[in-house]
Symmetry: none
Subunit: 367 residues, 2 copies
């Protein structure tokens, strides 16, 4: 990246997101606009001040944080900006990331729920995360106590990928109990926030954090939640973003099942097993592929060089479920070493991803 300072200024403009900008507007050009021009765009005094007179001290603090190992900014419009997040009504202009920023673009499921679940609810969350991560889905959550932590831990235990979206700047780990867990997540996935350094974990930040959790994900699974749980906000945001909402039912005598039951009444898919989730997401992945093909034929987008015919055959053979090299050799009649080197190229090209267990899967179109 060139100088991050203009992006860091954008990150500190309160409430500003890509949904507020006309697609023709270059966000970086905003800083050069006059007060009058910015006011004409409908920005508040606070946003105008932040754009025209950024706080040099705060931005220097962001830059010091970014200088640390494994840290980077992912910015609106950049090739590594997660495509599902780009599709929500209010995408962040800037994401602070620690760990592997590519994890943000993996097909992923959000698993959220109560900070104070029953023991069985915690086990259930961890088991679902473990099973889904082993099958190749990244698991996204909010690093909170309870179900969130169980979800991250389940994904890590399966050797899978996991993404934690924070409601504070990444120079803080909240809650403090999860400092060690956060380090593990950085090693096998990513911490992410749209909040700049020095931002404390205030309660009012959690809805904006939640929209990133649901927005990165194909769907959101609520494991246990009381009627007042913040996870119901995440579920509502997922529904508003057009994503799937899944909920696990429970005993009517368990107050932590009440939120899930409300979601099911409102149309969330009732989930008893991980297969219930795969059944829904399979259709969704197919739908995204069809949409991508329609868009590719309708608009002359440049989504990478055209593929060699053998590569097309290999991708078709891969389909939309994880497959091993042996399986692909059987399906294509190509030699094993040829398939392996083609997969490496496709992986570098962002078209396939390797998963635990030596399996390969496609990545979402346009990635």
């Amino acid at each position: 990246m060139d100088d991050p300072k203009p992006w860091l200024a954008l990150a500190r403009a309160p409430g500003l997101h890509a949904g507020r900008l006309d697609p023709s507007v270059d966000p970086l050009a905003l800083a050069g606009e006059s007060r009058t021009a910015l006011a004409a765009l409908g920005f508040s005094e606070a946003v105008i001040a932040a754009l025209r007179h950024p706080d040099a001290g705060s931005i220097a603090a962001d830059e010091r944080w970014l200088a640390g190992t494994g840290r980077r900014l992912v910015t609106w419009g950049a090739p590594d900006y997660p495509p599902l997040l780009a599709g929500i009504p209010d995408p962040p202009l800037v994401l602070f990331v620690e760990g592997d920023s590519a994890a943000l673009s993996l097909p992923q499921l959000a698993i959220v729920g109560s900070r104070n679940p029953t023991a069985l609810g915690r086990d259930t969350g961890e088991q679902f995360a473990r099973h889904l991560a082993a099958a190749g889905l990244a698991i996204t959550s909010g690093l909170a106590l309870g179900i969130d932590a169980a979800a991250h831990r389940g994904a890590l235990a399966a050797g899978g990928r996991t993404v934690a979206v924070m409601g504070c700047g990444l120079d803080t780990v909240y809650p403090r109990e999860h400092v060690a867990l956060a380090r593990e997540i950085v090693a096998d996935g990513a911490l992410v926030s749209d909040l700049p350094t020095g931002t404390p974990p205030l309660k009012q930040h959690f809805p904006r954090r939640n929209r990133i959790i649901s927005g990165l994900s194909l769907g959101t699974l609520v494991v246990e939640a009381a009627l007042q749980s913040g996870s119901l906000i995440t579920a509502r945001l997922a529904a508003e973003q057009g994503r799937e909402v899944f909920a696990i039912p429970g005993s009517i005598h368990n107050p932590m099942a009440r939120g899930c039951h409300r979601l099911i009444r409102q149309g969330a898919k009732l989930v008893e097993t991980a297969d219930d989730i795969f059944a829904e997401l399979g259709a969704l992945l197919d739908g995204l592929r069809a949409q991508a093909q329609t868009e590719a034929t309708g608009i002359a987008t440049v989504s990478g060089p055209a593929l060699d015919k053998d590569y097309e055959i290999l991708l078709d053979a891969l389909g939309f479920a994880p497959a091993s090299i042996d399986t692909l050799v059987a399906r294509t009649s190509l030699a094993a070493d040829v398939v392996a080197s083609m997969l490496l190229i496709l992986e570098l090209d962002g078209r396939v991803a390797q998963q635990p267990g030596g399996l390969y899967c496609r990545r979402l179109a346009g990635k």
Copy 2:
């Protein structure tokens, strides 16, 4: 009633019901029709034989049974034929009734479920029946072991009305364990069957019994049911009859919740409290609901007199799905022998119940 013999002959015509007859046809006139005329109406040889040559010995047995106290026939088209049952596609021409036949025409809810429920499921069924009966709904079920019996008992405990529909002739009580319960039901409601005396409780009679359970009722509530449960047949029949279907969700780790979850996926209303049922039954029951609010505040939750702290910890660890002693030891860090003796005390105290497989589950307080 005039001579019951022609109706008793109709009751013994296999598979004949009011849905098979043109509304203009007087069922009693069928016996006088010629063989050819009956064949032209599409009746089978067995039906024609039963109508033209009724078995005098069997009918005499029915008449002897009817001569007993509190027994009567309720016949198609009579003023006391239950109006909701008359609205199903295949209403019985004859109902054998013992007890108060007027109970059949009360606004009623069917409560059905597994013959082998969890202890908490049984308690839940009884509590719902108690609360709904106290609010003025009659409770209809099938006198089977498990949830059915709990439903009848709950209604009786509330001083309410209850109707038991049998899959055999009323000269038999099946299962034998419920002879005393059947006597209580006769005193405060009714036993009913469309099967004549001497008919054994064969498995193939249960679907036709189930259509009467759902057909008498405004809706059917399934409390706990495995995927193979006959109560799912009752629920399907209720839906086909245009009646409401209600199901109580449960832990995904409880096999007795699977049938209820299937029903919810298929569109059954998810029920957590009796108010959810009142809300659906709506205007029909506004008066009853007002009465309910004065008589009870809600279905009991799991609570009771204060417990010692370690017991609270153990109950919290037990949660709301069956768990083994090993699981509870892992969750509480208490020693296994301590957990075992605490469970024994909680069992004697009616707060937990032991299940097959050495699993323990919570019960509703005060049971």
